[in-house]
């Protein structure tokens, strides 16, 4: 660990950030931490997963059925009832409408908005 630290000390900050970003999840993915022997068995509530899938399907269906909403670059996911919409739109209005619709379908559940607004503006005197 100390050796690694010494080697990376001479790298520029952006390079370190990239290395950290790529390497750390890789290590996590390749070396999963085993559960402690005394840990209780994992309990999976299938109803939650099913409701997530249903929730996603409902949101996606509502978006597709809306005759004025362009969602070709939008994806929807859900985790434990939290809905996440992400992707890119080119008009802030589209983003507001998508989030508004997702919120309406999700009801009291949280909606995470990770939609980017791609502005193509070019400005010079």
């Amino acid at each position: 660990m100390a050796a690694r630290h010494d080697r990376s000390g001479s790298l520029p900050a952006p390079a370190l950030a990239v290395v950290a970003l790529v390497a750390s999840p890789a290590l996590r993915a390749q070396q999963p931490v085993p559960a402690p022997a005394s840990a209780p068995p994992e309990v999976v509530i299938s109803a939650t997963r099913e409701s997530d899938a249903v929730l996603v399907a409902k949101v996606e269906q509502a978006m597709q059925n809306d005759p004025y909403l362009f969602v070709s670059h939008i994806s929807v996911s859900a985790d434990k009832g939290v809905v996440r919409v992400e992707g890119v739109v080119q008009d802030p209005f589209d983003m507001l409408q998508i989030v508004r619709m997702a919120r309406r379908i999700a009801g009291k559940r949280r909606v995470i908005n990770e939609i980017e607004v791609a502005d193509p503006g070019v400005d010079h005197d």
Binding site: P14, A17, V18, L21, V22, S24, P25, A26, R28, A29, Q30, D66, P67, Y68, L69, F70, V71, S72, H73, R84, V88, Q90, D91, P92, F93, D94, M95, L96, Q97, V99, R100, R103, R104, R110, I112, N113, E114, E116, V117, A118, D119, P120, G121, V122, D123, H124, D125
Partner: protein, 620 residues
């Protein structure tokens, strides 16, 4: 003989490769063999009687012939069975091949579908009718005093730029004019590549801005000057990077910085005449948006979203070898800040806003219909030497003393001797006296190179019934020494308020907006009709209305109007920030000769632009 002919025909048909026909023929052949054998038995019985009348040799010959025919038929039957088995094997292999091909086609279709999905873009074209609202204005109509109370050297109603053709008022067609404008049209491609064995995606995007109404080329007109090329890849957010859900996103390339993107969603008029960038983030007026211009050589980090909270940070590499950032940064095309060298009032330099490094950060919180954001951005060492020197304003005339030996002016006072670069000016005057006399010394760069920063707070509330309200408060700041504050037009406050309502099941929306530019602490007086007695008389208000009607998911029509009312010394426009053609306070003056002071158009403070725009927008 009949049997032989029949068997030959069947054998011929046996070469037909169609599986159904082959099976059909086999059955027929079997039936024929059975019928023929039965006939032989019957013939045997009947032949007994005949044999009593025939010779034994002839019967034996007959039976031998028949036996040969039976053997021949059996041989053919065996061959056909072998052919049938072979054909079945071939058919089975063909089916497997077809299935494999179908899977390949399906996989190819999915790959193509995924590939095509990466393309995105907008086509937007409008017809505008706008006016600059500057008819009847008069150059330097004021009696004035300049810095230090010195009398202005330029008489009212005159201007160094005036010629018999141009006169004391705005030159050219500055009233209502119909125009075609391509607005924010672009094409881009983005994608991801999963890095094996990790939870990290490699991400990329290329993008370009398009001009749908004219041939591509440099963005270089008499008011808009840039080395960037419309239609070239990179004239749009272009980057590569890495994304991991728990870590966030890291991007490297040319992109808008968080200060701008944090409030994009509060701008319903994006790309229109009434885009809030007419005033917000726009220091000094005109068409460029200093705190909303795409940045080169930038690293952007977007954090994950934690329960509605997120933040973004960006760093722009300076990579400018000049200590006053007066040249293009290494690897760049334009000066930082958006212009090519020489586009300001001084020639061949990045003295109209060129800067070194910069950084930008925002914080965002979204809960239900509420969105809150705060953002900050800094540009280091912004060179503004062209901000007024050489623009022939009366103030700068007051800085010029009597002519020296070369006919060029000398410092009028201690202030002038301190802030203007007389050494370079006198050297130029010795070599090119005519050009030098037509202009003025530039600033000593040590004085007019300073950091600029901006911060803002934005709030948006989205009601479920279709109403959205937006508000932004902004402060722009330039760290100038006191000696130069009299010309600091880069420091002021700004406000934006908008209301938007969507109705008719999402098919229609209406919006109204108001932007306000507060008074700056100084004014360089580059305007042709600048009033030096009215320092601070440079506030502005922009009002805008819009109606958008969606024809389907991708195609919409819009109608917008905008009105910018400038105070006497202000010169904000309509259309800054994304509209293809801006309507600003410049008249049609163009250079008659190359001079040291300015080759640009004449700016008229207090212009009152109005415009209406209707067009179509298609997204994909």
């Amino acid at each position: 003989m009949l049997g032989s002919q029949t068997s030959l025909r069947v054998a011929d048909r046996g070469f037909i490769t169609h599986k159904g026909d082959r099976m059909c023929c086999t059955k027929v052949l079997r039936s024929l063999v059975a019928t023929f054998a039965t006939a032989l038995v019957l013939l045997g019985y009947s032949a007994t009687g005949v044999a009593q009348q025939s010779t034994p040799e002839s019967v034996q010959d007959r039976m031998r012939d028949l036996q040969q025919q039976i053997d021949q038929l059996n041989q053919q039957l065996k061959q056909m069975r072998e052919d049938q088995a072979k054909t079945q094997q071939q058919a089975s292999a063909a089916v497997q091949q077809v299935t494999a091909t179908q899977k390949k086609v399906e996989a190819s279709d999915k790959t193509m579908s995924d590939f095509m999905k990466g393309f995105f873009g907008t086509f937007d074209m409008s017809i505008d009718e706008t006016t600059k609202g500057m008819d009847g204005m008069l150059a330097y109509p004021y009696t004035c005093t300049g810095a230090g109370g010195t009398a202005c050297s330029i008489a009212p109603g005159t201007s160094p730029k005036m010629t018999p053709n141009w006169g004391p008022s705005p030159y050219g067609r500055v009233g209502w004019m119909a125009m075609m404008s391509s607005n924010g049209s672009n094409v881009g491609y983005r994608g991801t590549h999963k890095i094996d064995g990790t939870t990290v995606d490699f991400i990329y995007q290329v993008s370009t801005a398009l001009n749908l109404s004219a041939a591509p080329g440099l963005q270089d007109t008499w008011t808009k000057q840039s080395n960037t090329v419309m239609g070239a890849v990179g004239l749009g957010d272009t980057y590569i990077g890495f994304k991991e859900r728990g870590f966030g996103t890291l991007k490297f390339g040319t992109m808008y910085m968080p200060y701008k993107t944090s409030t994009d969603r509060l701008n319903p008029f994006s790309g229109g005449l009434g885009d809030y960038s007419v005033i917000m983030g726009n220091t000094g007026g005109d068409n460029r948006v200093e705190f909303g211009t795409r940045a080169d050589h930038v690293v952007v980090y977007d954090s994950p979203n934690w329960q509605g909270f997120s933040f973004d940070a960006a760093y722009q590499f300076g990579q400018n070898p000049d200590p006053y950032n007066n040249i293009v940064s290494l690897g760049g095309t334009d000066c930082y800040g958006g212009n090519l060298p020489g586009s300001g009032n001084l020639p061949l330099n990045c003295d109209d806003g060129g800067y070194n490094w910069g950084y930008s950060v925002d914080f965002k919180l979204e809960m239900g219909g509420l969105y809150l954001t705060a953002a900050y951005e800094l540009h280091s060492g912004v060179n503004r030497s062209s901000d007024g020197v050489g623009a022939n304003s009366p103030i700068y005339g007051a800085l010029l003393g009597p002519a020296g030996a070369n006919g060029c002016p000398t410092p009028a006072n201690a202030l002038s001797a301190q802030i203007l670069d007389w050494t370079d000016y006198e050297a130029l005057c010795a070599e090119f006296p005519n050009s030098a006399i037509a202009g003025t010394p530039e600033y000593n760069p040590a004085y007019d190179t300073a950091d600029e920063f901006a911060y803002k707070f934005g709030v948006q509330y989205t009601f479920e019934f279709g109403l959205t309200i937006d508000y932004i408060f902004e402060e722009l700041h330039r760290n100038l020494p006191a000696v130069l504050e009299f010309q600091n037009e880069r420091q002021r406050s700004g406000d934006w308020l908008a209301i938007e309502y969507v109705f008719n099941s999402g098919a229609d929306r209406l919006a109204a907006g108001w932007a306000h530019a507060g008074a700056s602490v100084g004014d360089p007086g580059g305007q042709h009709n600048f009033n030096p007695n009215g320092i601070g008389d440079n506030q502005a208000n922009m009002y805008t209305l819009g109606w958008w009607h969606k024809l389907d998911k991708q195609l919409s029509w819009y109608l917008q109007a905008a009105d910018t009312a400038n105070d006497g010394n202000a010169h904000y426009d309509i259309g800054a920030g994304g509209h293809g053609i801006k309507t600003d306070c410049h008249d049609a003056t163009h250079p008659q000769f190359i001079d040291y002071s300015s080759a640009g158009p004449t700016t008229w403070g207090g212009c009152h632009e109005l415009g209406i725009s209707t067009g179509v927008n298609f997204k994909f």
